[in-house]
Symmetry: C2
Subunit: 247 residues, 2 copies
């Protein structure tokens, strides 16, 4: 049984600062908790709402031997952040989702992505296309924000993240080995970019675009040309289009 | 000045049934109201919150000659559906955004898309790629839902929509002239589909996929092959990838 003070500590995890202090985050929903347990990410606790009807066989297998605490509606709401909760959430330790050193041939970097759903959706797409390492710039929304976590549909447990304290420096440090390919308006057609080699693809806030620093570091600026009247593409759509094109 | 009963009627437009009865919808935010006015879509009223700092030059030009009503915070909230409203919204007549007959070479059709942000984002991407006609299946979220409208970023005013009362019948009726290309798992690589001719691209609810009826009507099933561990792509990302590939 979680003590009263533990419950208070868990409820505080809705707040970014409390997450950073404890290295814990809340993952909510059946699919996401399943992916978390399946991935072997350390899980401190699983809570279900009274009346929760259990998961499928796999969930039961993953949970076997693990204590699962039942909370009443009111207590569950203190941890949950959805209007209509599915009734299950887990408290996970995020430290083994983080990496200091980047090593994959293809890396995604996010600059100033403020919308949690966009960030989560990009992580999900990266996972779909087998891109495993993602750099999160310092002005982005927090990676462990509940809306980010939910939008990844569990992919947050499949990828590895580097939390940059200064994205430009991180990119500069990678530059000897990697080509920096930045999506922005006014660049070259993304389908005509240089093929092969190690690359970092940089996606930015859709309203403000990449910073001057990042543009200067970039080896290539790529663009998805439009034909209609929309002013821009949603950043998670733009990222998906470019990731789908990576050979 | 809008009368008390008009204000009540406008507030009721948050509800799908009231929208269907009056042919009106609420478009909220500076960018979206600008696009609405610029498009020439009939606008019954523009409301701003007390203290709203005005738009840019174009907005002022578009509004010139039009009465703009100032509401206090509480009254504005009755019409607004955002937590942090920008302070401007318009009441638009949606009838000239609808079409009975479809005529373009490339059409998008949505089946059972329940998430408003996904629908809005698909409309925005379609606009980006110059795809103008969109069929909305009967089990989709309502096109004029405020979250759909906001996610289009104004593209709702650029496209034309056919509201299907039975999507399978609509597709069947189009079939003599159009190829029906449906996105689903287990189909052929989307990059290898038949080129040219008139096509309807069908995108479906990402959890449930297309219905059996729709699969039977389809001339081609196309898939975006993944390499990672994600179970699926977000439907607005999948749609964007396929639209980007349309010649």
């Amino acid at each position: 049984m979680a003590t009263k003070s533990e419950m208070k500590r868990y409820a505080s995890l809705k707040d970014r600062k409390a997450r950073a202090e404890s290295d814990l985050f809340i993952a909510e929903g059946r699919k996401i908790v399943t992916e978390g347990l399946r991935s072997g990410c350390p899980c401190e606790n699983v809570f279900v709402r009274k009346g929760y009807l259990g998961g499928d066989e796999e969930m039961n297998r993953l949970l076997s031997g693990r204590e699962m605490e039942v909370l009443d509606e009111q207590e569950f709401r203190k941890l949950s952040d959805t209007r209509n909760p599915q009734g299950i959430l887990g408290i996970f330790d995020y430290r083994n989702l983080l990496v200091k050193d980047l090593a994959e041939d293809t890396i995604i970097a996010l600059f100033d992505v403020a919308d949690p759903r966009n960030m989560g959706t990009i992580i999900r797409s990266a996972d779909w296309f087998g891109i495993r390492e993602i750099v999160i710039g310092e002005t982005c929304v927090d990676l462990f924000n509940d809306k980010v976590v939910r939008s990844t549909m569990g992919s947050i447990f499949h990828n590895r993240f580097h939390l940059a304290s200064d994205l430009s420096s991180t990119l500069s440090a990678l530059k000897p080995e990697y080509r920096i390919v930045t999506a922005d308006i006014g660049g070259a057609d993304y389908r005509k970019r240089r093929i092969g080699g190690k690359r970092v693809f940089v996606f930015s806030n859709e309203a403000r675009g990449p910073s001057r620093d990042i543009l200067e570091i970039s080896d290539e600026i790529v663009t998805i040309t439009g034909k209609g009247r929309a002013e821009s593409l949603n950043v998670s759509c733009a990222a998906a289009i470019i990731m789908a094109d990576i050979e």
